[in-house]
Amino acid sequence: MTNITSTILMTVLLLNFLILGTSRLGTCIRVVALQGALISLLPPLIHGANIHSYLLAGGALILKGGLIPWLLFRAIRKVRIRREIEPRIGYISTLMLGALITASAFIFADRLPLLPEHLHSLFIPGAFSTLGAGFLMLITRRKAITQVLGYLIFENGIFIFGILLAEAMPLMVETGVLLDMLVAIFVMGIVMNHINSEFSSIDTEHLCLLKE
């Protein structure tokens, strides 16, 4: 545990496994919120104390750690579900796939032509494996709400990746991305409500049976 940044990144990686392995939606949302809050601490740690990084960190912390989880909790209260039952691929296989993705992220990251200061940091493998975990959630789960969570983890991965570029990227772009995410969650919430009112559950499997 060399410094705080790599500790945070390691924790994020471990949280990925926790999300992939749990079936309780409440836990899932809390863990995703924790993950978001943790990675929002990264910009000031990497780029030092300036307004840019503080704004970014503050925005991400409020959105990822507060507002979005609150919206999701509200959503699961409304549609009255507590846990994801029978995902498309079982939990054990999902966990194994997650481990495989993490391992290949580490291998892949070592082969990329990176700047020397990024070469042995955990940022690249962390970002890739978080992306992979998000993808896995999106693909393997049936309920719309866990898919939204997958999308959030995916976005967390992009955020970790983006931190490396934070100096080159204007603040405007990043706040735009964060806002996009918020809007996306809103839209997904509305979609979820519609699926729920149509089929009296938010199982996306029903969408395969749509007729005119």
């Binding site: 545990m1 060399t2 790599s6 500790t7 390691m10 990686l13 471990l14 496994f17 392995g21 939990y91 054990i92 966990l95 194994m96 997650g98 481990a99 993490t102 391992a103 580490f106 070592d110 042995h120 493998p125």
Partner: protein, 304 residues
């Protein structure tokens, strides 16, 4: 050598029954009860060893061998593990494998003894025990592989010796070792039939694993089983403590740290038991495979 042997035997026989007392006391205090005295297991053992045994006529010598092996194997295995700064009396390259398989032999004989009773109820427990032990073993193996990789040594003595020469968390391999320590803690809970996996106090048919296998044992045989289980708890705790605590000071201080650490670990187990409900049987393999994957992850981190 003689000194370390003496310390090992003293701690193993003297201290180990205290641990389950500490766990029970912690649970009782958290539940707001007074609970049995910490020395309850000593009293139980004293009582049991003076009692006669009732042995079913359908059983063979295997039924008697189960408790004996279950008692001797932890003693043998403890000879391979350093207790804090006290080096293990026996040590040779490759002893982690012997350590794991010694514990497997103990489990094998417990299972055989349970099967030997001919009761289908005990067979059920034996089947569960076999399943879970299969799932636990890879975690322990990968954990030892990580330790071998960190220390470059192949005997438990040198492995832990290299690891414990400083505070773990500040070394470059610290994170892997921390993960391994967590995995070993879960292994401790499984191996010693602690609550998220198995409730040592229940006698409910559907959920028992270890308890059901020893139902037919009585008297001194039962005492041997309890004593062996207590020593196994001390042994599993030792693996974790060797990872987490630095031992460099004078011997007395190290022993005090070690005993304090093992008591703290027992309190921690008690806390976990009070805070958690037992998991469903179907969820247990998932958790155990999760720990295996976590220890693999620790290995990946080291290899890059």
């Amino acid at each position: 050598m003689m000194e370390s042997l003496a310390i090992h035997l003293l701690l193993l026989f003297g201290l180990s029954p205290l641990l389950s007392g500490i766990i029970a006391k912690t649970k009782a205090l958290i539940a707001g009860r007074q609970g049995p005295p910490v020395t309850q297991l000593y009293l139980d053992l004293w009582k049991l060893f003076r009692k006669d045994m009732v042995i079913s006529r359908t059983t063979t010598w295997i039924f008697r061998a189960g408790p004996v092996v279950g008692f001797t194997v932890p003693v043998l295995a403890a000879m391979l593990v350093p207790f804090g700064a006290t080096a293990a009396p026996l040590s040779f390259p490759g002893d982690p494998i012997l350590f794991i398989y010694l514990l497997a032999v103990a489990r094998f004989f417990t299972i055989l003894a349970a099967l030997d009773t001919g009761s289908s109820f005990e067979h059920m427990g034996a089947a569960r025990e076999a399943t879970f032990s299969v799932l636990v073993e890879p975690t322990v193996f990968v954990a030892f592989i990580v330790l071998i990789r960190v220390s470059g040594a192949f005997s438990l003595n040198n492995m832990f010796g290299a690891v414990t020469t400083g505070w773990l968390l500040f070394s470059p391999a610290g994170f892997s070792l921390a993960i391994i320590a967590c995995c070993l803690f879960i292994v401790l809970l499984v191996e010693n039939c602690r609550i998220p996996f198995d409730d040592p106090n229940t006698h409910l048919e559907l959920t028992m694993i270890h308890e059901v296998m020893i139902l037919d044992h009585s008297g001194s045989d039962y005492g041997l089983i309890l004593y062996g289980a207590a020593m196994k708890l001390l042994l599993s705790g030792t693996l974790i403590l060797n990872l987490l605590l630095p031992f460099q000071g004078p011997l007395i201080l190290d022993m005090l740290i070690f005993c304090g650490g093992i008591a703290a670990l027992a309190v921690l187990v008690g806390l976990v038991e009070s805070a958690m409900a037992r998991l469903r049987l179907l969820r247990l393999p998932q958790l155990l495979i999760g720990t295996t994957l976590l220890s693999f992850f620790a290995l990946i981190l080291l290899l890059r």
